[in-house]
């Protein structure tokens, strides 16, 4: 526990990502099994002790420390685990501190009835740093800037193994990852993951950034605006992974429940929507998909209102065959066969786009105003499927957003991190030039795009320039111009202007621009598709 708590303390105070990786790699290299495996699990959120929750810790501390003093301290420190570790009375007991494995075993064995006593007994054997580490590990949520990716990089560095191989095994092995350490640290046989539903590293694209490519060498697809997923079926199990390697299987039962084909496929998770567009259509905006993200269970209503499907990009494994070394063109042919065997309402194919030259492509890109399209993907026809971001193989070519100079009209308070700030803004455009009697009518609403500093400024502007109140809504003096970026604009009954923007966000605050020079509605109408 001592080495682990020292590691945790160092990680907290270390800012540089590389230094964090070095620290963790050194720890993983030097620490014996199974402690290092447990540490890895603790740092990446792989442990769960149902009986040990914040409330149980609070109750245990309040049996030893004046509750008022505990509450005042908690308010000041801002973290229950840290407060408890600082306040825990008495010097460590004479017994030696528990090892990390002993602590994990003990935490796992605790019940709601026993946690008060058993956790206290462990804390009594630890110093302040040890208590902090134990309580953080017990309650999860370390929040010390260690992502799963960073932990895997550290593991790869510690033992000089390939990060891609580490990522493949990560998700099928369970803490304390004995087989992973046996392979990496002791040169024992690589765990056989072929027959297991493991995550494979995603192949990622680099921004095109003005490069001119020989178009004949590349296949072009739409860049769909959902989330990249990998669907895997092996050994009778189906798993759905996000790009970061998170297992999101339980969040999308309509996808995973219908997938029994032994393969590993790469695609975009989207939600069916009424907003048709592009050549294929059928996908709703990212907003709709957001309703479905981050859920462990899905209410039936959600499945009905926001049905998900996967638009397939690639095939990594088909049956026993690892397709990844094959060129993209060969994989695409296979994918077209595979998709035939999948339920059509849950899986379709990301269509290829034909263009004669780059100018034609640019035209296609800019005219595509479907809410679910972010831009274009260019994939080398001979590219193998390789994990990570490799220049020269895949490119993304995002569409430039449209912009308009709008006038701030109304503001409303936000929630969460922005609670108490006026952070939701409704803005409008002129129906005609102001000198010809035009008025400002609402065209959209945005609550993102600004920095924290800009938010404070906007909040203060709203407070100082309020001219009317309608419940929670403040009407402000129509003097402030906001440059609003948006992906497309459509006819809509939502706003008085008869227009609605997709993904509007505040690009800039134009304090320099008088409201009279803001965009006219006629200019906006010209952008409608």
């Amino acid at each position: 526990m001592k080495a682990f708590s020292a590691l945790l303390t160092s990680l907290i105070y270390t800012r540089s990502r590389n230094d964090k990786i070095d620290l963790l790699a050194r720890y993983l290299h030097d620490t014996p099994d199974p402690d290092r495996g447990w540490a890895l699990a603790a740092l990446t959120g792989g442990l769960d002790f149902p009986a040990v929750k914040s409330a149980a810790i609070r109750k245990m501390v309040e049996e030893r420390v004046d509750p008022v003093l505990f509450a005042l301290s908690r308010d000041y420190v801002g973290d229950t685990a840290e407060t408890a570790s600082l306040l825990w009375p008495g010097a460590p007991a004479p017994e030696p501190p528990p090892s990390l494995s002993e602590a994990v075993t003990a935490l796992g064995a605790m019940t709601r009835a026993s946690v008060g006593q058993d956790l206290a007994a462990l804390l009594d054997r630890l110093d302040e740093n040890g208590r902090f580490a134990l309580l953080k590990m017990a309650t999860g949520g370390m929040r010390i800037g260690i992502s799963a990716r960073l932990a895997k990089l550290a593991f790869a560095q510690a033992f000089g193994v390939d990060i891609g191989e580490v990522e493949e095994m990560w998700h099928v092995l369970t803490p304390p990852y004995a087989a992973l350490f046996d392979w990496a640290a002791r040169n024992e046989a690589k765990p056989d993951t072929n027959a297991l539903p493991v995550y494979r590293p995603f192949m990622l694209a680099v921004p095109l950034e003005g490069r001119m490519l020989t178009l004949a060498d590349f296949a072009v697809e739409w860049k769909w605006d959902g989330i990249r997923v990998q669907i895997v079926h092996a050994a009778g199990e189906t798993r759905l992974y996000s790009r970061g390697g998170d297992d999101i299987t339980d969040g999308f039962p309509e996808i995973t429940g219908d997938f029994h084909y032994p393969a590993v496929l790469d695609g975009e998770l989207l939600v069916r929507g009424s907003h048709q567009g592009g050549a294929e259509g059928g996908a709703a905006s990212f907003n709709a998909l957001q309703q479905r993200l981050g859920r462990k269970t899905v209410p039936a209503r959600m499945l009905e209102d926001y049905p998900a499907f996967v638009r397939l990009y690639d095939v990594l494994v088909d049956g026993d065959e690892d397709m990844r070394p094959l060129p993209w063109a060969a994989r695409r042919l296979r994918l077209e066969q595979v998709v035939e065997r999948l339920p059509a309402d849950r899986f379709d194919l990301s269509a290829l786009i034909e263009a004669e030259d780059f100018d034609g492509l640019a035209l296609l890109r800019d005219s595509a105003r479907d809410a679910a399209i972010e831009g274009l993907m260019l994939k080398r026809r001979d590219s193998p499927y390789v994990g990570g971001r490799r220049t020269g193989l895949w490119y993304k070519w995002k569409r430039d957003p449209l912009t308009a100079d709008c006038v701030l009209m109304y503001a409303q308070r936000g929630s969460g991190k922005r609670s108490s700030f006026y952070s939701d803004y409704t803005f409008g455009c002129w129906t005609a030039p102001p000198e010809e009697g035009g008025e400002i009518v609402p065209v959209g609403k945005a609550y993102s795009g600004f920095t924290d500093e800009e938010l404070r400024w906007l909040d203060s502007f709203v407070r100082k320039n309020t001219v009317g109140r309608f419940g929670p809504v403040r009407e402000v003096a129509k003097t402030l111009v906001l440059e609003v970026a948006f992906d497309s604009i459509h006819a809509s009954k939502r706003h008085k202007s008869g227009l609605a923007m997709r993904f509007p966000r505040i690009a800039r605050i134009r304090r320099d621009k008088p409201a009279s020079e803001a965009t006219q509605l006629s200019e906006m109408l010209a952008l409608v598709i």
Partner: protein
């Protein structure tokens, strides 16, 4: 619990109306008693100043000489008028720091100013003074604040230095008191290399030396190359840690010596890599221990987190109240 009529806690400081004298006032007044030289207690521009010789010298260095200075001797009562006398006793906080005992008609009030109960080679130790009313500071008035032994913290500082011979350790330390105590404690532990200083610390270190505090060899970082500064300990005011100034250092390990470093997020928020929990204030155990030791009839709490200390007093059937004085929050100490 109004207290005796001859002392009035006002927002700007403690006031003795009968003799028109202020204690640690936050604005310039006619007559002031000042416990010590930190800016939140010692303001410039008073007409008449009563302070220890060291505090008077510190204030003269910072603000120029006031109209009239009464250098008070420790433990010797001075008559202020209206039957009130004041006696200064060491507080153990920084060079020249004092508590002030106020007496009138047999009633005894002790104003601790800032104090600590730990050993400090740069100043006289705190002397407990019996009293009816104790007006205590509460900068670290929460039970989470327990300062570890300074030796442990300096060992971590020296260890960081030894492990990174190409880097330097840049320690943010309050210019009056903390910086000099750190140096003196390093010397006591046998560290005999020169200690490098940010220009803003030089004059105060010279003043300490003039009062007989041996700080060993000190050098200004001005004009030094990165090679000169590698593997050295450099002290600077906390505000300089994130200043452009620190970029001329050889890959500094950012340290900060402060009681606040006990709370991890406080260190993280200030981008401190090496938090050193070193404070010149009493920690929770010293605050409560002193109250227990002196057993005053009443405790007035100020300068910090009053709520917890007042609550602690009340759970022990001690009469306690929080004073609401302005401008006494010191984020750097």
């Amino acid at each position: 619990m109004a207290g005796p009529s001859w002392i009035t806690p006002l927002a700007d400081g403690l006031y003795l109306p009968g003799c028109d004298v202020w204690i640690d006032p936050a604005h310039a007044v006619g007559r002031a008693l000042v416990t010590h030289g930190h800016a939140d207690h010692a303001r410039g521009g008073h007409g008449e100043l009563f302070a220890t010789r060291e505090t008077a010298a510190i204030m003269a260095l910072r603000y120029g000489a006031p109209a009239t200075v009464h250098e008070v001797a420790l433990r010797e009562p001075i008559a202020l008028g209206d039957g009130v006398s004041a006696t200064f006793f060491p507080a153990g906080h920084v060079l020249g720091s004092a508590q002030i005992l106020l007496e009138r008609g047999g009633e005894r009030i002790v104003v601790t100013g800032d104090y600590k109960r730990r050993h400090d080679p740069t100043c006289l130790p705190f002397e407990p003074v019996a009293c009816d009313i104790l007006i205590t500071e509460a900068t670290f008035g929460l039970p989470v604040f327990v300062h570890p032994p300074i030796e442990d913290e300096l060992a971590r500082l020296l260890d960081a230095r030894a492990r990174h011979p190409d880097r330097c350790v840049l320690v943010g330390a309050y210019a009056l008191g903390k910086a000099q105590r750190l140096i003196a404690e390093l010397r006591r532990g046998g560290y005999d290399r020169p200690v490098f200083l940010h220009g803003a610390l030089t004059r105060m270190c010279e003043l300490y030396a003039a009062f007989g505090v041996d700080l060993g060899m000190l050098e200004n970082v001005e004009g030094k190359s990165k090679a000169d500064l590698a593997s050295q300990i450099i002290l600077c005011p906390p505000s300089a840690l994130k200043d452009r100034w620190s970029r001329r250092m050889p890959d500094p390990i950012t340290a900060m010596a402060s009681g606040w470093m006990r709370v991890r997020q406080r260190a993280v928020q200030r981008n401190v890599e090496l938090p050193l929990v070193i404070s010149d204030h009493a920690d929770w155990k010293e605050l409560t221990g002193t109250i227990t030791e002196l057993a005053p009839a009443e405790i007035w709490v100020t300068h910090g987190r009053e709520d917890a200390l007042v609550h602690w007093c009340r759970t022990r059937q001690l009469r306690a109240r929080a004073l609401d004085l302005v401008g006494y929050e010191d984020e750097d100490d």
